[in-house]
Symmetry: C2
Subunit: 182 residues, 2 copies
DNA sequence: GTCTATACGTGGATAGAC
DNA sequence: GTCTATCCACGTATAGAC
């Protein structure tokens, strides 16, 4: 209890991230988060304005960075080079925001979707990104493989759960796999 | 409304599958399902005993089949052959239960987890499966790639959303990708 | 900065009429 | 087979005291 002055907000974020990832966003109540921390629901409202505010504070940065990536890719000419660059940037994002963020995003797609106010939904975003890196004349097989290559970055982070590996090792493996597919 | 005798149950299942996949299980209320069908909540309770009962009727078969696969794989010796066989069986499962089931499972992992009464959780199940097909002496990189190969089957189904492709084409692409990685 | 108390809506679920 | 009416628990959120 010595460590409960000023960092309460950080603790809330940490517990919320954990529970949201394990059980899902809707399945996790504020009461649950509060109990786990030994505080009351009302205490949470001192630090955050709403439940959505918590999740937003958890992923706002990542989503914004993803937006930027998509916007940038849309201005480039499709082709193998762009593919490589986009994959590298995805890896960079994953490394920067941590595996847990990826796992949350995968487990709470519909929540992430709602967090995009007035913007594209997550699937539209993905579709835009796919379009940007895929040659218009590509066959269906090629297009599909490129999509899987891109998604494999996050999938690898997910698959690494419980595996005895450093972040750097996982990053390297993700890069190998994505490039193998693209 | 002529088509509202006897197939109501089927309609409920269909709408539920759709909404659960799009919005998530908890985020979808029974009221929402009922309204969409033009009936009342109480009507749903005539056909199903609970909300969980609906989702169970949607995925019980798939989960049972997955259980069988894991149990079988555990009795086999790990190696390249087993890997190929497991991947083929996964493809078979996906084909049999449809892409939408895969999408639901991916979007509602924590719900699927709860549906396993007295059994392993979904992640334990996956871990068991991974263990069965991975050589104990494999490097971390190899182990990770095998995991991703297995998961890529479902991922490919997911990635095929909105793509103009037949089920057979997607299956074939999934097989290629999984084998490329394994 | 954290609490008690409470309001309010909604969700799942049941009883009983038609 | 579907409806109305209703119950109860829970979830988010607020007001105001300490």
């Amino acid at each position: 209890m010595a460590a409960r002055q000023g960092d309460t907000k950080a603790e809330i974020r940490q517990v919320a991230m954990e529970l949201f990832t394990q059980q899902g966003y809707e399945a996790t109540s504020l009461r649950e988060i509060a109990e786990r921390l030994g505080v009351t629901k009302a205490a949470l409202y001192y630090h955050f304005r709403s439940k959505e505010d918590i999740v937003r504070s958890l992923f706002g940065d990542y989503l914004a960075a993803l937006d930027d990536l998509v916007a940038w890719a849309s201005t480039q000419a499709p082709g193998p080079q762009l593919r490589t660059q986009v994959i590298d940037r995805m890896l960079h994002l994953s490394a920067e925001h941590g595996r847990q963020a990826m796992q949350f995003a995968l487990a709470n797609q519909h929540v992430v979707r709602e967090l995009h106010p007035g913007r594209e939904t997550a699937s539209e975003l993905l579709r835009t990104l796919f379009g940007a890196i895929t040659d218009p004349n590509a066959t269906m097989q090629e297009a599909l493989r490129i999509r899987v290559a891109l998604l494999s970055v996050n999938l690898t982070m997910f698959a690494a759960q419980g595996l005895d590996a450093t972040d750097a090792q996982v990053d390297a493996a993700a890069r190998d796999i994505a490039h193998l597919l693209s």
